[in-house]
């Protein structure tokens, strides 16, 4: 090895050798930068989980897990404080499910429309418009929900109009562009030869879309739904304004209820650090994290399993 390096130096001008060595040094350095970035990302998530998890686990000094997870009685400010979070958990899952159910058919149809049917000029308008909606602050969505959707629902269905339904409508609009854009990208990235193969067999456009393109784009569509769902689970401000925030299991889609995120913001700022109440809010944050992570992993696994071997 020693020998070969010397020979190299003899063959090549000195300056070039230095250049090569410097490039190699840079290459090594950059590799560490990239590894470092990855390590940092990992550290961040672990410290978040650690922080939220530690603070949350302190709840169990004052509250039994059975009460927290299985009771619906949330009355932290009463003389005999009760910390049952089941109602929040229930509503969170219901709200997420409903908003995804509302958004996905629309978003997927929209994606197909944009990728395969719409004329070019229409796409060129719709796509940036959709991107724009990702940037509209949730407070604005909330405001529209509060001033227009809630009163309208109240008028149509009677009652006050607050509840899971208006929240789901708002969330569906919020996540629609995300799901649509990513699904469209996936559809567009499919090799043209799949479509050609189907058309050449005499399939109509609709048959091609339904039987070939959508199945082939499945994994990208899953990613899109997961991202949308993640946003729906974590959304706070907009939901707060329209869901009503009663700490109970709702009797209908138009009954006031609370989800985990709004339960947290509602009281986080005004409760004292280190009290059982405050700790319970951190525990809800942990719960939220665990739910969204397991939903995501679950869907990923399901998608992988249903793929062809």
């Amino acid at each position: 090895m020693q020998k070969s390096m010397q020979m190299d130096a003899a063959v090549q001008p000195d300056a070039l050798d230095r250049w090569t060595r410097r490039q190699k040094w840079k290459d090594d350095a950059m590799r560490w930068v990239f590894v470092g970035s990855s390590v940092l990302v990992t550290l961040i998530i672990f410290s978040i989980i650690g922080f939220v998890g530690y603070q949350g686990s302190l709840t169990f000094r004052d509250v039994s897990p059975a009460e927290f997870f299985f009771s619906t009685d949330w009355s932290p400010s009463s003389e005999q404080p009760r910390y049952g979070a089941l109602a929040f958990l229930y509503s969170t899952l219901l709200l997420t499910l409903l908003s995804v159910v509302l958004a996905v058919p629309l978003a997927l149809s929209g994606a197909v429309f944009m990728a395969k049917i719409a004329p070019k000029w229409m796409r060129e308008i719709l796509r940036p418009a959709a991107d724009l909606f990702v940037g509209i602050p949730s407070v604005v969505y909330g405001l529209i929900g509060l001033t227009i959707i809630v009163p309208a629902l109240g008028r149509w269905f009677g009652g006050i109009g607050y509840g899971i339904l208006p929240a789901a409508i708002i969330l569906a609009v919020m996540i629609l562009p995300t799901i649509m854009s990513i699904s469209e990208d996936t559809l567009r990235a499919l090799p043209k030869r799949l479509e050609e193969a189907s058309m050449a067999l005499g399939a109509t456009r609709w048959q091609t879309i339904w039987r070939v393109l959508l199945p082939a784009a499945r994994s990208g569509i899953m990613t899109a739904i997961i991202l949308g769902m993640g946003r729906a689970i974590g959304e706070t401000m907009a939901v707060f304004m329209v869901i009503g925030n009663s700490p109970k299991i709702p009797s209908s889609l138009l009954d006031s209820t609370t989800v985990l995120t709004t339960a947290i913001v509602k009281d986080m700022a005004n409760t004292f650090y280190g009290t059982a109440w405050n700790n319970a809010l951190y525990l809800m944050a942990l719960l939220l994290l665990v739910i969204s992570l397991s939903l995501i992993l679950g869907i990923r696994m399901f998608a992988k399993r249903s793929e062809l071997k």
Binding site: E196, A197, M199, A200, L201
Partner: protein, 250 residues
């Protein structure tokens, strides 16, 4: 009467005049080869036969292509019916990301066959015709992507056969394959001739000479010469054909 009759066919990609005044008669149950340098319009002409050019924006067609005496650009039967009758195999094997079985059953299904027993029969018959049955019969539920390139191409042929077309178009079906797979496909083409009318585009003159009964030589969107394969290769009439087939081109 010839099965396919092409009359005064002109095709434009927007401005670009890609096919110039093509006339050609193709007989039933024959194998016709299209040869010529890249970009001369072989694929374009092939695709006018099943109207796959319809999917490309800005394509304009003049003249007529008649199959069994009916102009396919005017008939009311619809492009789906036409394509069912005129199957196509592409340069790159392009199976669907589905199982082997579902690939072959795709065509029958979209055309309304749903009974399992019937489908089973069609799948087996098509795979046998494509000389693939013995290799895959135990793995019908496996993904088509697990097959080798040559197997995939035969699968695509089986898929095309499953809707029982009359005509089979092949656009350089072996150019992505190794010689052994190529040989297999060539043998298969020879066998298929008994039941189908085949039009094949190829870059490989040896291949054209081996498999086809007629050959058309293209240049710049025109058919320079269209004749019996043996005649065209041994005794071409046009100087340009001769230059091309002897490699002295340009």
């Amino acid at each position: 009467m010839a099965l396919i009759q092409i009359e005064k066919l002109n095709l434009y990609y927007s401005e670009f005049h890609a096919l110039k005044n093509i006339r050609m008669d193709i007989q039933e149950k024959s194998i016709t080869a299209f040869i010529g340098p890249s970009g001369c319009g072989k694929s374009t002409l092939l695709r006018t036969l099943n109207r796959m050019n319809d999917t490309i924006k800005g394509v304009r067609i003049e003249g007529s292509v008649a199959i069994s005496g009916k102009n396919i650009y005017e008939s009311g039967a619809g492009v789906e019916t036409l394509r069912k009758n005129v199957g196509m195999v592409f340069q790159q094997p392009n199976p669907f990301p589905k199982s082997i079985y579902d690939n072959v059953a795709y065509g029958p299904r979209i055309h309304g066959t749903t009974r399992k027993a019937e489908l089973d029969e069609i799948v087996e018959k098509s795979l046998r015709s494509a000389a693939l049955w013995d290799e895959v019969k135990d793995y019908l539920k496996k993904s088509a992507y697990g097959l080798s390139g040559g197997q995939q191409q035969r699968l695509c042929i089986a898929r095309a056969l499953a809707v029982s077309p009359q005509i089979l178009l092949m656009d350089e079906p072996t150019s992505a394959l190794d010689p052994i797979s190529t040989l297999k496909i060539e043998e298969l083409i020879q066998e298929l001739k008994d039941n189908y009318t085949i039009v094949i585009v190829t870059h490989n003159m040896q291949q054209a000479a081996r498999v086809s009964s007629q050959t058309a030589f293209f240049l710049n969107g025109e058919v320079v010469e269209f004749a019996d394969t043996v005649k065209l290769f041994s005794n071409p009439e046009d100087q340009r054909t001769e230059d091309y087939i002897t490699g002295r081109f340009g």
